[in-house]
Symmetry: C2
Subunit: 252 residues, 2 copies
């Protein structure tokens, strides 16, 4: 394990070096935007950070739930074993994303979350958050929005059901692109932090299919690909593939 400091409760809110008020992902995360006093208070709540090395586990399925986490920097994935026991990727997380929301119901984590690269997360004690929400209706509302957004996100993935492999892959690439855009990074060129196997587990395709589809996208001139470095050369075509408006399907 890699705990830099002990998990403190609400009693000793020693401020951590980096505060939410100056965080780049602030607008996508939980801390209140407007009120300065509340912002300071939230810093005290979420001040503790935890560093993770690549492949290090943040929390494991069935582990008892006490903290929510927000990505400060880096990338993580969440996996859940299916009925057969095979792991299935339920989400990829990047800066500002909230993790652990699915643990509130049962009081234990429903998924295992792992760092895809060296990362840092902010710890948000759930008990403290509840208290803070009681005192601050705007914070409560932000939290409800975050939960609702997570439901929406999963509904969107859920609708992959009757999409072809090419459509699912296009959907993932465009999703990543738009999330990088939200964060001020290039929506055209980015690095795929996850392995082909992770992409397959996420989309319900095999690793071979992912590889073949990426190859066909490259051959069609829709993307440029160098290992995990990707550039979306023709977003329009990718979108058209999803919409099915395009007369031209993927050549291949």
């Amino acid at each position: 394990m890699n705990e830099l400091m002990p998990h403190a409760g609400m009693l000793a809110p020693v401020p951590a070096p980096a505060s939410c008020t100056h965080c780049a992902a602030r607008s996508l995360c939980l801390p209140p935007a407007a009120d300065a006093r509340e912002a300071v208070r939230f810093d005290g709540l979420a001040g503790y950070k935890r560093r993770l090395e690549r492949d290090e586990v943040l929390f494991r399925k069935d582990q008892s739930f006490a903290m929510l986490y927000a990505v400060h920097f880096g990338h993580l994935k969440s996996t859940r074993p299916d009925h057969r026991g095979h792991p299935h990727v339920t989400a990829f997380h990047m800066a500002g994303d909230l993790m652990g929301l699915d643990a509130i119901y049962a009081g234990r984590h429903a998924c295992t979350t792992v760092a895809l690269e060296d990362s840092e997360v902010c710890e948000i004690p759930y008990a403290g958050l509840q208290q803070a929400m009681h005192d601050s209706p705007p914070l409560m509302e932000r939290f409800h929005c975050a939960l609702s957004r997570e439901i929406l996100r999963e509904q969107a993935v859920l609708m992959h059901a009757d999409l072809s492999g090419a459509e699912r892959l296009a959907s993932l690439l465009l999703d990543l692109s738009s999330r990088y855009a939200e964060r001020g990074y290039s929506e055209r060129r980015f690095r795929l932090r996850m392995s082909r196997a992770d992409m397959g587990d996420y989309l319900g395709l095999t690793i071979e299919s992912i590889s073949r589809l990426l190859g066909r996208f490259r051959d069609a001139g829709w993307i440029a690909l160098d290992k995990r470095e990707i550039e979306l050369l023709d977003q329009q075509r990718l979108r058209a593939l999803l919409a099915g408006t395009d007369g031209h399907a993927l050549p291949g």
Copy 2:
């Protein structure tokens, strides 16, 4: 439309005939279980009911969000159009289920919800609920649990991705069965309120596949089927199919 009474705000909480305290689905729904005073207050909040005929729309996608709804009796489905515009069923709702949670984020409904049969729903004004949650931390916690459970439910469906058609169908039948059991109905014998087409839209299969699979389940002696009336003759086999532990797959 079919509004029996005007939508009142918090100012005129005229109690409706049936109260949450006596509702059969109370334990599965939002109202607090313990405190009698809070229970009465919640009755005032959620007292208004709305009746729906079969095929009547409760709310439509993009409609602005003001109310959450709970199923009092009857069954409903929620659908969302995919990128192509084809409707996709995201959930089937029965007594006690909360609807509209996905609308909190954007302030507009993300799906369209329709009655599968004559039904009645309880209206829960979101603004009033927020106020009530501010006054009652236990209610707030129940609400967070409900949101978290919805996330879990969708994750479970999301993992259908790499299941075969037979496995997906078994999963749906067992899910319905366990939900009826929770509500005190028979887990063995029940009525499928939705059409084969709805089941297909939900599971990502065609109507023909649903029909064939139900036929194979029947021929294998795992279920008895009379139109929409179904009896699970061998739950063990259905479960074994999902777990993949069973040596015997579905004969076919």
